[in-house]
Amino acid sequence: MNISEVHTELGKFFQGKVSEVITSGKISYFYFDREIIYDLFLVLRDKIGMEFKHLSYIASVDMKEHLELIYCLYSYRWGSVIHLKTRIDRGNPHIRTISDLYVSAEWHEREAYDLMGIVFDEHPDLRRIMMPDDFEGHPLRKDFVEKDNYHGIPTKRDKILGRF
């Protein structure tokens, strides 16, 4: 069940909302709109022909003008893997959570929230996962500037050799 069959299958359910299959480098993926995320993953997970039951990871990428979320799904029954992408504008980075469909999504979404600042609505426990709770800013963004010190601890190391 490779990506193009999945794409045609989904094309029937979500006409306008699913973009064309794009292959860049060694991965082929397609974009989908933010609103249909819940139904899309419900179909992907439970439809007999697809059964993508294992959500491998959610990668958040900062494409400078907008943010992107990459979902990677495995179907153990058919032994296939597909990647889906969705665009999120930097203004209000909101998207619905899929942690009620995939339990593993909860922590991946928390990481995306913590490091990239994408807020997942109806997430059961949206907290920072890597950074301390009172940390401002989202480190993985391209425009993230690190402050000089955190609670008085200097974040820049003293330069012995003047190089780094």
């Binding site: 039951k53 990871y57 153990y76 990647h83 339990v103 909860e106 907290r127 890597m130 950074m131 993985l140």
Partner: protein
């Protein structure tokens, strides 16, 4: 919302709030569990992670491709060979470089040796958490022999930095082959049988591990478990067989799957036994590989300054802790634009959080050890 709010929201009055803090003998590495216990029975063990977050993914965006390889060792320092292999394979796919056969063999031998070493530590520390200290040291003693071999092969005992984009850094010689043979003769029939007699069939360990945190196969897939944890729940999925990479199709080895050896399918005891069986399989693979290493050079022609074309790749490797994958997005420059690292222990933490409800505090220790989580893999 912050941690305090989360805890106050669910606080009941007759519960004890125990802090199995970052420094605790049985949380493997720096992980903290806030245990809400009612007497000995746990209501919830809330994991708090992030103490070992070095921001390797952010560092990837600042270092050139060849320079990033030593960082990949630090993602999972107990099984560093797999991290190298996954990253290097990803970049080679982007560049379209064909790795010489001999290099593939050397990579595969080093990785399987590293899998045995990692399993020895995880089995030993599980036995130690349950109280038996001797199997841990027997495991460490065998691991020392592997450390010597890798030290002779690539110069370092833990963070190997052995693989390069397009091949491997050092070649193997007869001395190392002889040492590997000695290790295998010692390991396969002798050590594993003795380890089983000493601890695997030990009734106290069996009683402590059966029916603890039993994870069914649907649950395991939904939790996103990978590697031995997934196979112990009865799902026959191993990247080396189902999505073959490198030269694994040329070798005959089978995938141990949990069948409820003493308790039910997918309990902690199954995970323990599946890891022991996996060590045997790895030893068989190495034995097949040593006998027919092709000769040839060990490094493909790769430009000094690696600049892969624009594009993305996701390369995954069956590490000791399951699927370890690098999602590399390159924009044609010298540094990767984004490098997402997918590790096995990250999703295993969620399984621990859910499965810890309702079992004893002593079982939380068994559950953590049986999931074989390692702090650097979670926090990256």
């Amino acid at each position: 919302m912050t941690l305090e709010e989360r805890l106050n929201a669910v606080k009941k009055e007759n519960e004890i709030l125990l802090n199995m803090g970052p420094q605790h003998p049985s949380t493997h590495g720096v992980i903290r569990f806030i245990v809400r216990a009612d007497g000995e029975i746990m209501v919830e063990a809330l994991p708090v992670v992030g103490y070992l977050h070095r921001g390797i993914e952010k560092l990837a965006e600042m270092t050139p491709y060849p320079g990033f390889i030593p960082y990949t060792d630090r993602v999972d320092y107990l099984a560093a060979m797999f991290c190298n292999h996954a990253f290097v394979m990803g970049v080679e796919r982007l560049l379209g470089v064909e790795v010489p056969k001999r290099a593939e063999y050397l990579r595969m031998i080093a990785s399987e040796l590293n899998r045995i070493a990692s399993h020895l530590i995880s089995l030993g520390s599980m036995a130690m958490d349950i109280g038996a200290f001797t199997p841990f040291l027997h495991g460490i003693r065998e691991r020392e022999l592997i450390n010597d071999i890798t030290e002779m092969l690539c110069g370092s005992r833990l963070t190997y930095n052995y693989m390069r984009i397009g091949g491997v850094s050092n070649d193997i010689n007869d001395n190392i082959l002889k040492k590997i043979n000695d290790f295998l003769d010692r390991f396969l029939p002798g050590f594993i049988e003795e380890f089983n007699r000493l601890i695997t069939y030990n009734e106290i360990l069996v009683k402590r591990c059966i029916n603890i945190a039993t994870i069914s196969s649907e649950e395991a897939i939904n939790f996103g478990l990978v590697g031995p944890n997934l196979r112990a729940s009865g799902v026959k999925w191993d990247l080396r067989k189902n999505m073959p990479y490198s030269i694994y199709p040329e070798f005959k080895f089978d995938i141990p799957v949990g069948e409820g050896f003493k308790g039910s399918v997918g309990d902690s005891y199954d995970r323990f036994v599946v890891r022991v069986k996996e060590m045997e399989e790895s030893a068989k693979i190495i034995r097949q590989a040593i006998s027919n290493i092709p000769d040839g050079e060990i490094m493909a022609k790769v430009p000094k300054r690696v600049k892969p074309p624009v594009g993305e790749v996701y390369s995954a490797v069956e590490s000791a802790r399951g699927e370890l994958g690098y999602h590399i997005i390159s924009d044609g420059s010298e540094n990767p634009y984004r490098c997402k690292i997918r590790t096995g222990s990250f999703s295993a933490m969620k399984a621990i959080h859910i499965k810890s409800q309702g079992c004893f505090i002593a079982d939380l220790v068994v559950l953590i050890a049986s999931m074989d989580i390692v702090a650097p893999e979670i926090d990256r």
